[in-house]
Symmetry: C2
Subunit: 307 residues, 2 copies
Amino acid sequence: MTFQLVVVGSVALDSVEAPAGRHDDVLGGSASFFATAASYFTKPSLVAIVGADFPEAHVQFLRARGVDLAGLERVDGKTFRWAGRYSSDLGSRTTLDTQLNVFAGFKPKLPESYRDAELVFLGNIEPTLQLDVLDQVRRPRLVAMDTMNFWIDGRLEALRRVLARVDLLVINDEEARQLAGKHNLPQAARAIRALGPKTVIVKRGDSGALLFHEGGVFAAPAYPLEEVIDPTGAGDTFAGGFMGYLAQQGDLGAATVKRAMIHGSVMASFSVEAFSLDRLRALTSDDISARYRAFCDLTHFEDLRIA
Amino acid sequence: MTFQLVVVGSVALDSVEAPAGRHDDVLGGSASFFATAASYFTKPSLVAIVGADFPEAHVQFLRARGVDLAGLERVDGKTFRWAGRYSSDLGSRTTLDTQLNVFAGFKPKLPESYRDAELVFLGNIEPTLQLDVLDQVRRPRLVAMDTMNFWIDGRLEALRRVLARVDLLVINDEEARQLAGKHNLPQAARAIRALGPKTVIVKRGDSGALLFHEGGVFAAPAYPLEEVIDPTGAGDTFAGGFMGYLAQQGDLGAATVKRAMIHGSVMASFSVEAFSLDRLRALTSDDISARYRAFCDLTHFEDLRIA
């Protein structure tokens, strides 16, 4: 049995400057990266909004990847746009421009066919919208969410209400520290788990990701890549691979969750190898299997302990 | 069969300020941390220099741990002293004072009983002294070294001569980047391997350590500790656990080297839990086994691949 997976988030047109070049108005947004990554494991159901200017080619791409677009709303106006520039070592990013456009009026509406989904991912959107989504789903087995510094700063009360209702928070390290008010990551995860989510995944960029849950802690490495082109969307891609794998397996046991961490890391490692979703567009199942094996080899050691 | 392990480095009196407190004139230095960590696996042979003021209790401690002190030179004058202060999040460190004292006149002299050692670790000392040590050993199976930004800046020519003669460089991430002139760590490791050492271990603090060798890359995690007291010496402790395990096993195969990475990480995870060598003093073999199992659990996942 597999699980249905719903993702709510942004579909955007990104303009990205990085040492390897500059790309304008390319497909971006948390839901685009998430759904594309997840599409290699399941047929994710997407909820997002775009404007009249959104290129039909992007819609066709997502549809061809098996993404259910019944929840993609198309309205008059311009699509959400984001522009950013990476530092020469890709270690930091400056937002140059954010135009919410039609995203400013986004009210997520879940089609009836989405409401019995077992898995729900609340992408990084305004917390009261995340609550609206939770009111529309019936009895999900697992609700995961992402958030960002902007909402921690400006919408903490609403954010706490969302946290109280979710099972899993996927968050980057700096934002985990900010939300918890603690620098030490295990302490920060413990504080966040006390706010609601029984499981916290802390994304640490090229240091991998840490899973904190009742079973303890699990560390998924990042793959040491010789060439990183564009880190945009890596976190959403991780989440898409992670949740997509859970949907495919139809299981939420600890062993499956750990393998999902590796699958999320596998997809994120591809995502950063090209601008936008370009590397994710072209993957084969052989590519994914080979990278998964590389991750196994990366941390595997023969344990000679005498029990 | 086991291997003999020689370590050459500093024995110092450290004064450390950290959020958890301040400790003055405590036992420190690269060779002290290295040898103490290694002593849980083998009887390391130490080469270092101390002054007349060096407390006899420290000598007795090292001897009680099984460290061969035939190469510990004791001369008139004051022992090497270092003082440093950590930032509130332990993320950065400021050196407040460095007094070389007797260390300024250090000329490593290996006792005859050391010269056939199979394993040699050149701690972070002036590169021409590292070369002097290499001229005194006969046919080591593996020579490893550490270095630091100070020598990369000021003694690059001599440092390159050492690099050309060693098998393994253990170095932290920022220094690897500086030495290679490349920010990307896999690229930096590749550039460093072209200078001589076939194997490079990049230490990344709480992001673990990466092993780059002809067999590819291996990632050892850092253990996510809720309480870190004093990171001083963690890198030398890692190296001591790593080399000590190789000495105990008497083997340099890839599988053993990977397990050595984990044992180094285990010892480093203890080291940071107290000031100076205080946590390393009190370990039992049960402590080490339990932490090793925790490291196994930290990265282990059941791989369901169909071969």
